[in-house]
């Protein structure tokens, strides 16, 4: 029996479980029950879930088993429990964005990624906590309480997809989905010691993803291995006629490409990503990874992304501008929180939004409203769009010399709850991830070691636009030679 087979069911990979389900060693219901049992055992400490519908999940698992015993064609994820960040619409299930504003909202429709998961046979499992409306880097900004890092419950799981990363790290799902606007998949993946992939902008449909910043948001997978990420991406990727910003090209076989290995071996190290504020233990892990690739025969080159210093400012102008507009629909009129003490329609707007939104959401709406105001638009929004073009050009220029970039995912490992009370300190957590969103690139965070204190460290690999296959193969190259991804927290 292999090591993976010996692991508890709830900690196995999609690849292993799919094979075991196909071989009849395990039923989907047994798998789902194992995940439910694990979740019941640990989630009062981790608090990854906003809501779970165990009966519904077991019914989906039973349906998968019935399909299998009837000899029907099985999907690539048939019977695999996948839990979703609570910003992805599932018909008949709550959709809260971890906000009071949507505390009682139930979605009447499926997101495109949910439709695709259903077609692939996945069991849709639970709604995962996040920073309200995906605004934050710690999952402390949730109206329903913070999520805890399974490696150290006194610490944050990262954010905004903190629930998605923590649930996976704690064995409460086999894979999860998150969304990444400025690092919201990669940073929590790094903090929780799992794989997190942010696909190229346009690769995965946004239809049914609650919008934070439309030009930056992407849905992506959290998995235990790079191979699992490839399997899940295969299901999620592809053009969607309901999303005008979705990409129309052929989707390659990611799993085959990952197993075949990378075709080229030139790795760039952007010098701007190793500046002040980088934790020495994280820096050491990244340097060790560089040494690993060099030892494997990769050509290592230092590259420069000269506009990196403007990423944070650019991001907080564009993201907040779009957010201020996207969140205007939450007004207490058609659905969502409605103030009971409003006298007229203006008061209804003001009070519903004052009561429904948390502090960070309000801060960003106000900032975004300001930068789009008449007289300020040119100085802020238009300027930010111009700088965004320069930031993307930086990356594309680097890709003339190298095939992927290796950086830290986050400047530091998971921090303690309440440690970053200053919003600006929190924003600085994202300095290595937001450039990728501004440039629309694919990037992955993979487990790259542990600190002395036993906290996971994430490595970020950044690829060329729509070249996820090559990126995943590069990541798998490292993963195969290390066992960080096989370690589990003590819970």
């Amino acid at each position: 029996m292999s090591a993976a087979m010996a692991a508890e069911i709830h900690y196995q990979t999609i690849a292993t479980l799919a094979a075991r389900l196909a071989a009849g060693e395990l039923s989907a219901v047994e798998l789902m029950q194992a995940v439910i049992d694990r979740t019941r055992a640990v989630d009062d400490r981790v608090r990854a879930f906003n809501s779970r519908d165990e009966a519904d999940a077991l019914a989906q698992a039973a349906a998968s088993d019935a399909r299998r015993s009837a000899g029907e064609a099985m999907g690539p994820l048939d019977g695999i429990p996948v839990a979703l960040k609570d910003v992805i619409a599932v018909e008949g299930q709550p959709l809260t964005a971890s906000s009071r504003m949507l505390a009682d909202f139930v979605s009447p429709y499926d997101a495109t990624v949910v439709k695709k998961l259903r077609q692939a046979g996945a069991v849709l499992w639970g709604r995962l906590n996040l920073d309200e409306f995906a605004m934050g880097s710690s999952t402390e900004n949730s109206a329903f309480g913070a999520t805890h890092n399974p490696w150290d419950l006194s610490r944050v799981p990262g954010g905004s997809s903190g629930g998605s990363a923590a649930a996976l790290a704690a064995g409460e799902a086999i894979a999860t989905l998150g969304s990444d606007t400025g690092g919201s998949i990669r940073q929590p993946a790094a903090f929780c010691g799992v794989v997190g992939l942010k696909p190229s902008y346009g690769l995965v449909s946004r239809y049914g993803l609650i919008a934070f910043a439309s030009s930056l948001d992407q849905v992506g997978p959290f998995t235990r291995t790079v191979e699992d990420a490839a399997m899940l991406l295969q299901v999620l990727a592809g053009h969607d006629p309901l999303d005008s910003t979705s990409f129309t090209a052929e989707i390659p076989d990611y799993r085959a490409a990952v197993c075949a290995g990378p075709r080229s071996r030139r790795l760039g190290i952007p010098k701007e990503y190793f500046g002040a504020g980088l934790d020495p233990e994280v820096a050491a892990a990244v340097r060790a990874a560089i040494a690993f690739y060099a030892a494997q025969g990769w050509e290592i080159q230092e590259v420069s992304l000269p506009h990196t210093e403007f990423c944070l400012d650019t991001y907080y102008i564009i993201a907040t501008a779009e957010a201020s507009s996207n969140l205007a629909r939450y007004d207490g009129i058609r659905y969502g929180h409605r103030s009971q003490s409003a006298g007229d329609v203006t008061e209804l707007y003001e009070k519903s939004r004052a009561e429904g939104f948390g502090a960070e959401v309000k801060r960003r709406i106000i900032l975004g409203t300001y930068v789009l105001s008449s007289g300020y638009y040119d100085a802020y929004y238009r300027r930010a769009q111009q700088v965004r073009t320069l930031i993307r050009s930086d990356f594309l220029r680097a890709y003339e010399q190298v095939d992927a970039l290796l950086t830290p995912t986050s400047p530091m490992p998971a921090f303690r709850h309440g440690e970053k009370a200053d919003p600006l300190a929190m924003y600085l957590c994202d300095i290595y991830t937001i450039g990728v969103n501004l440039a629309g690139l694919p990037a992955i965070s993979i487990p790259g070691g542990f600190t002395q204190a036993g906290l996971p460290i994430g490595l970020q690999l950044i690829g060329r636009p729509f070249r996820e296959a090559e990126l995943l193969a590069t990541a798998r190259n490292y993963e195969q030679a290390h066992d960080w991804h096989q370690r589990r927290p003590n819970l």
């Binding site: 910003v87 992805i88 619409a89 959709l95 964005a97 949507l102 909202f105 979605s107 009447p108 429709y109 997101a111 946004r206 239809y207 049914g208 993803l209 609650i210 919008a211 910043a213 439309s214 030009s215 006629p241 309901l242 999303d243 005008s244 910003t245 501008a321 779009e322 507009s325 205007a328 629909r329 939450y330 007004d331 009129i333 058609r334 659905y335 329609v345 707007y349 409203t369 789009l372 105001s373 008449s374 638009y377 929004y381």
Partner: protein, 485 residues
């Protein structure tokens, strides 16, 4: 002091598409409230817009018909303001790059008489852009209900330059614009259903002054007549204000067509900041030459161009053309019949359509599309009259029968025995003699050189012939007898 009015119109035209502007749910009017909705229309969390290409086709077609420059890229912006009829609290619209720029609407002012063509003017357009309509609020005593059926319907806004100078010009502008939109199949422009809506910006200034006076926006002008009346009323109101030494306040006023009065809705001192920015959910769409040419091929001839062609090709009188060209189906019916009858018979064809066909349709309460008389049958009727097979009175009877049954004119004439009999020359001469003998006064007048006096004899002759005499033969016989008298 003499003042002149300066008027610009903002016209909203709902585009006739099967589905809405950014989602697949149906567009329509008169349905149960909130039945034409879906997650996109209601702006539920997570939804995204997808452009309806048919709506973009329609506005480009409108732009081509009006001679606009079509932008090479269709770009979308968000216009942001909070109002309960706007589900997203922003409206997807076009801000700095409207799809159509420039262009003009040709108008005709009232002539000196009904049968006299009036002066033509070209009213330049600023722009046309595409956007989505909002829902409708129904205010009750204690609450307001929202119907989102209209929300998301494709809507184009046609903005004229401030080039109109009177209420009559505004009326003529809207009449022409509406005809073009209807004839282009872009909208039915039914103002009662809100398919065409008009706001007017009105100011006055001393004649000769080039700068503009303070403008007042007039809203809720919900019929073309109300537009004319409302503007006339507003011009008078502004003149009265100035006459008593007052100043015009920039404001929005609501005109009530029933009472003929207006009242201030709000002053414009607090200008709205719509915080426009490009919609990140929608990619700009390239509009290439081939796309434009394909749409241009489907553009019908404009009414005034058609009218000019009728003058030159068919020598039609103004009154006939001014009936035919404002209804595309009628004009096309006319052209088909005129083509079948021959261009020299076009006026006769036109007369039959305008006098007889429209009358019968009106009495029967039918539309032209329901007419059983096909254009080529009408042409055949004209030919039968021209060749003397049917006399005018008989032809009218035949037409009524054709209209009722759809039968061919020759068949009706044969069945009803209405064909003109070859006139018996002896009998005709006898009737003519009797008619001349019975009217000495006319006879004397004719002898003294008044040629038209001959007509006085024709009535009695036709009466004696029971209407079946050939008018040409009657005229010839009378002249021969009078000459030899």
């Amino acid at each position: 002091m003499n003042y002149e009015a300066v008027i610009g119109l903002e016209v909203h035209v709902q585009i006739k598409t099967r589905s809405k502007m950014f989602t697949r749910v149906a567009s329509g009017y008169g349905h149960e409230p909130n039945t034409l909705t879906d997650p996109v229309v209601l702006a539920l969390p997570g939804v995204l817009p997808v452009m309806n290409k048919a709506a973009l086709d329609a506005v480009i077609k409108a732009g081509l018909m009006l001679g606009c420059e079509i932008a090479p890229v269709c770009k979308w912006d968000r216009k942001q303001y909070f109002y309960p009829d706007s589900p997203k609290n922003y409206q997807i619209s076009q801000y700095d790059q409207p799809i159509c720029l420039g262009g003009a609407v040709e108008i005709e002012l009232p002539g000196s008489a009904r049968n006299v063509m009036g002066e033509h003017k070209s009213i330049p357009l600023t722009r046309i852009h595409l956007e989505e309509d909002v829902g409708k609020l129904n205010h009750g005593a204690t609450d307001s209900l929202i119907d989102f059926n209209r929300a998301g319907t494709p809507l184009m806004e046609i903005v004229s330059e401030p080039a109109l100078r009177s209420a009559d010009e505004a009326f003529a502008y809207l009449t022409a614009l509406r005809a073009i939109m209807v004839q282009g199949g872009i909208s039915d422009c039914d103002m009662e259903k809100g398919q065409l809506r008009c706001d007017a910006n009105i100011s006055i200034r001393p004649v000769g002054q080039t700068t503009l006076g303070t403008k007042v926006e007039l809203k809720n002008l919900n019929s073309i007549s109300f537009v004319r009346d409302g503007i006339a009323h507003e011009i008078k109101r502004q003149m009265a204000v100035l006459a008593r030494g007052g100043t015009i306040v920039q404001e929005t006023r609501d005109y009530d067509g029933q009472t003929g009065a207006s009242q201030s809705l709000r002053s414009k001192e607090m200008a709205h900041d719509y915080r426009y920015f490009p919609d990140p959910d929608l990619m700009p769409v390239q509009v290439d030459q081939a796309w434009k040419e394909r749409l241009r091929a489907g553009c019908p001839e404009l009414p005034f161009d058609r009218q000019r062609r009728y003058f030159t090709d068919f020598q039609l009188p103004y009154t006939l053309t001014s009936v035919l060209v404002w209804d595309r189906a009628l004009a096309e019916y006319f052209e088909a019949a005129a083509c079948a009858a021959g261009n020299d018979k076009a006026q006769a064809v036109g007369n039959w359509i305008v006098n007889d066909l429209l009358r019968e349709l009106g009495q029967a309460g039918l539309a032209l599309a329901d007419s059983k008389v096909r254009p080529e049958q009408l042409a055949e009727l004209v030919r039968l009259v021209d060749t003397g097979v049917l006399l005018t009175g008989a032809a009218k009877e035949v037409f009524v029968e054709m209209f009722a049954t759809g039968e061919a004119p020759a068949a009706v004439a044969r069945r009803r025995g209405l064909e003109a009999a070859p006139t018996d020359a002896g009998a005709l001469e006898q009737w003519c003699r009797e008619a001349i003998a019975g009217n000495d006064k006319a006879r004397a007048e004719f002898k003294s050189g008044k040629d038209s006096a001959i007509n006085a004899f024709k009535g009695p002759v036709m009466k004696a012939a029971k209407g079946k005499a050939d008018p040409k033969a009657v005229d010839a016989t009378l002249r021969r007898l009078l000459a030899g008298d």
